[in-house]
Amino acid sequence: MSAVAVPTPGALPRRRPARLAQFRDLAMRAIRSTARGGDALILPIVFPLIILAINVKALHAILGVPGFPTKNVTSFAIALTFLQGALFSGIACASRMAADIESGFIKRIALAPVSMLTVLDARLAGVALAGAVEAVFFIAAARVGGAHVAAGVGGVIALIALSILFNMAFAGVGILLAVRTRSGEAVQSLFPIFFVFVMLSSALMPLSLIDVTWFRDVAEANPATYMLDAVRSLFIGDGDLGELALGAGVAAAVLLLTSALSLKGMRRMVVTP
């Protein structure tokens, strides 16, 4: 009797769909959920604009502080609007990731020949699109408030790029928490911490005018300060390349670090109960 060669599972021909096609399908899923969910698109635009409208009036007295760098509060306050938009989008994105983890979607998709990097990138693509849409609304609102973008079209493009990057950076932190805790509740609870973390910066007062030493030190060490300054440089200054690069660099570093850690966590998650 001759032995029958039984192919081992590893030897079976296994067609791996192109990574780009996987990314497209998963990204469309993320974008659709972003477009459908009010928390993912409406809130990140509406809430920061409401806070901007309030801050422009509430902080009007700030113009009386000697050395304040502009005569238009909107030019100063709009930077916080960009960060708050990114914060809301990031939390919404992370919340969806937590839901995917809790529902077992990530583990199921791991059974298919799909890389976890593609899953992560697709999720970030959804939040990147939200960032671009938000930026358009925020720039329009700034214009209504009398603020002008320096460097014309180039400045507008830079603002959109910064908004995309900030959204992805905040989403990166949120996704990392979602992967680590596997809990939507924990991700939602992160919002207040992000919210106040952004406040421990130059969000409400330029660094040079903060007269409480310890607070100035904290603000100087807070990455949010550099993200705010990058946006502000396009409204108050003339688009200082150094400040733009620093803000973008800080956001990119946060994104890369959190993505690497999330990826590690996701890979571990699919092989542990």
């Binding site: 309030i54 700030i62 939507g184 106040v196 406040m199 421990l200 607070f215």
Partner: protein
């Protein structure tokens, strides 16, 4: 044998409080949130205290603290809303509905968690603020008044968040819990007294009930009684309104509708 309403409320309250304390991330977030807000506002905006027309005798830190304790109480309630939503996601809430006939004790139980959370958060905030040099002019009556205000705000916020949680039955509804509350809170005299707020914001602040709650808190801190009666009255009215919202939410949850 069915448990009494009080036993149900207390049981839910204890379960929620224990879960909160035993979960370091949630416990720390509740404590850190008001602390960082106090630090951020009093640290960044202290130059505003020197502006013409800024009259508050206890200093800028106490001025900010008066707002932050109201905010901390509100967020104690909102965080409890997350837990309520989570109870639906893990299937605990439907079992709770089967275990007890009356619904009010369930809501009351979640409210107990919110009140305990808020009181602990405010207590820690107060200790840190005083150690940080905050000046106040309070006696026992003012401390009791501030505590009562915290309880009322926390209970109201928890009922609001509970109503949302019962309707959506998902933690993803979190933004609908905190966004309206944040907006209402920011439409109060947060950074400067109401008299210094220009334009439409000055007008809105005057008709926002929460402004009177914040002013009552600041007034108590300064040893006064201005706006205190109005603040408590408005808080009590708010509590009744959101209690109706929460009860209707429970009915919606039972029917599986919004």
């Amino acid at each position: 044998m069915r448990a009494s309403a009080g036993q149900v409320a207390w049981g839910i309250g204890l379960r929620g409080t224990r879960a909160w304390i035993l979960s370091p991330p949630f416990f720390l977030i509740t404590l850190l949130f008001p602390l960082i807000f106090l630090a951020a506002f009093s640290g960044a905006l202290s130059p505003l205290y020197h502006l013409n027309g800024f009259t508050y005798p206890e200093g800028y830190t106490a001025f900010v603290y008066g707002f932050v304790i109201v905010q901390a109480a509100a967020f104690g309630g909102i965080f409890t809303g997350y837990s309520t939503a989570r109870d639906f996601e893990i299937g605990f809430a439907p079992r709770l509905f089967l275990a007890t006939r009356k619904r009010a004790p369930i809501i009351a139980g979640y409210m107990v968690v919110a009140v305990i959370r808020s009181l602990i958060a405010v207590a820690v905030l107060t200790v840190v603020a005083l150690l940080g040099g905050m000046r106040t002019n309070v006696g026992l009556a003012q401390v009791a008044g501030l505590a009562a205000l915290v309880v009322l705000v926390a209970a109201s916020a928890s009922l609001w968040a509970c109503g949302i949680a019962m309707r959506f039955r998902a933690t993803a509804s979190g933004p609908f819990m905190y966004t309206p509350i944040l907006v209402v809170l920011f439409l109060t005299p947060v950074y400067v007294p109401a008299a210094l707020l220009p334009g439409w914001l000055g007008s809105v602040v005057k008709v926002n009930p929460m402004s009177y709650v914040v002013e009552a808190s600041r007034s108590l801190l300064a040893g006064g009684n201005q706006s205190v009666g109005k603040g408590f009255l408005l808080c009590a009215a708010l509590l009744v309104a959101v209690a109706v919202w929460a009860v209707l939410g429970v009915r919606a949850a039972e029917r599986g509708r919004w």
